[in-house]
Symmetry: C2
Subunit: 246 residues, 2 copies
């Protein structure tokens, strides 16, 4: 934990944060916090700040907090991902939040198994803490927005323009133009990256996406597992947007 | 499995590959191979090719093979990695091989726990199949060379110039210059990327590496877990070398 995240409701009227759960244990056992000591913390979807330990006991830690004036910006990359196997998706939540994504749009596709949608890993009470874990690792406060879509066509045709109204749209596809050149050419500020299922999008899905403005981008000829591809591609899009912004 | 890998010793005098293990089961059960059908295969550290199924039975598949004239080049990126926790290292082997690394140099550092070196995950008979799994995913044949070093100083001072005589040396460090600009400026063809332990390299280790020509590079201000950082940084170095080569 590099940044301890708290809910807005956990800040008292008196400006004191009172922690009673695993985070108080973490403060005592791992950070060996003592009264007077400062720790980095942040409010979920709010500013970062510094908390000074006021009192520390077995079941309660009180922190006096000062927060920054600004809220960190929402990450400039969004992800449209064909739902991978539950085991892979479980591993991905924290890593996606750590890399920085504004929203995660999970979708069905022909090569996605229907039963993937029945897993508990798509329940907000299960993935929420995993997203927070990733944010605490990366020192971010902005929780990715998550939507889950069981019908690809309806998502792309009816909802996508609302979910993602402005910015570049990219479609990861083996052997296509490098991400860097596409984003640099567009001087893009924001990108939505679509990553297909292990077996790839089918021709119909590719056409639908391209009709909606998605451009094919690739990272060479190596075929990667979904989780490896997500991390590699998100890193590249972030770097490319950063370059384009200068 | 996108490319079935075989040992050179598995190719008979008659040019026929005979498979009896999990790969023959994979051919029958997953690929539903039938006589006359072609499958992509490759020789470990050798060329890729096409195998045509000659006969298929419960315990033996025979393939008539034609191989390319060329062996794929060794990946242009090497990795110097402070040994992460065994659980993380287990997950990394296949992903590193899939992303493409010429060699993996594992090292101790102050913030690496000594007992990490005692894990079975550092035994060649354990990680070998995981590397092959990653190569089969990415359609590569070149097995990363692996060396394991329990003394950081001796590695850096006495062995590194032999293991990695030519090319750029990069050191991942939070908040440093972007990888892209460093590698583009150097028009680099080959890079060795050093990634420290979760707690970072200590000052002494940083100095030793910089004395040996390592330049600090970063990917922004987000702190990533070792496994996420490895994948993100390797993807960036590959992309940057590819850009520099044009």
């Amino acid at each position: 934990v590099n940044l301890l995240l708290v809910q807005p409701s956990e800040i008292g009227q008196d400006g004191i944060v009172r922690l009673r759960d695993a985070r108080s244990a973490h403060l005592r056992m791992v950070l060996k916090a003592a009264p007077g000591q400062s720790v980095r913390l942040g409010i979920l979807d709010g500013p970062r700040g510094i908390g000074t330990v006021r009192s520390i006991a077995a079941d309660l830690v009180e922190l006096e907090c000062v927060f920054d004036a600004d809220v960190p910006p929402r990450p400039a990359v969004d992800l449209l991902l064909a739902l991978p196997r539950p085991k892979v998706m479980r591993r991905l939540w924290a890593q996606l939040a750590a890399l920085g994504v504004g929203q995660i749009i999970l979708t069905n596709a022909e090569r996605v198994e229907r039963h993937y949608f029945d897993t508990h890993i798509l329940r907000a009470d299960v993935y929420g803490p995993l997203l927070v874990e990733g944010l605490q690792q990366a020192r971010d406060t902005r929780v990715p927005a998550v939507t889950i879509h069981r019908r690809f066509k309806i998502l792309v045709e009816d909802h996508l323009d609302t979910l993602y109204p402005h910015g570049e749209r990219l479609l990861a596809h083996p052997g296509s133009t490098a991400i860097m050149s596409v984003l640099a050419a567009a001087a893009a500020r924001r990108a939505l990256l679509a990553i297909g299922p292990e077996g790839g999008w089918n021709e119909h899905e590719l056409r639908l996406l391209e009709e909606r403005g998605f451009q094919r981008v690739g990272i060479g000829t190596r075929t990667l597992r979904t989780d490896t591809a997500c991390i590699a591609l998100l890193a590249l899009v972030h770097a490319a947007l950063h370059d384009a912004a200068r």
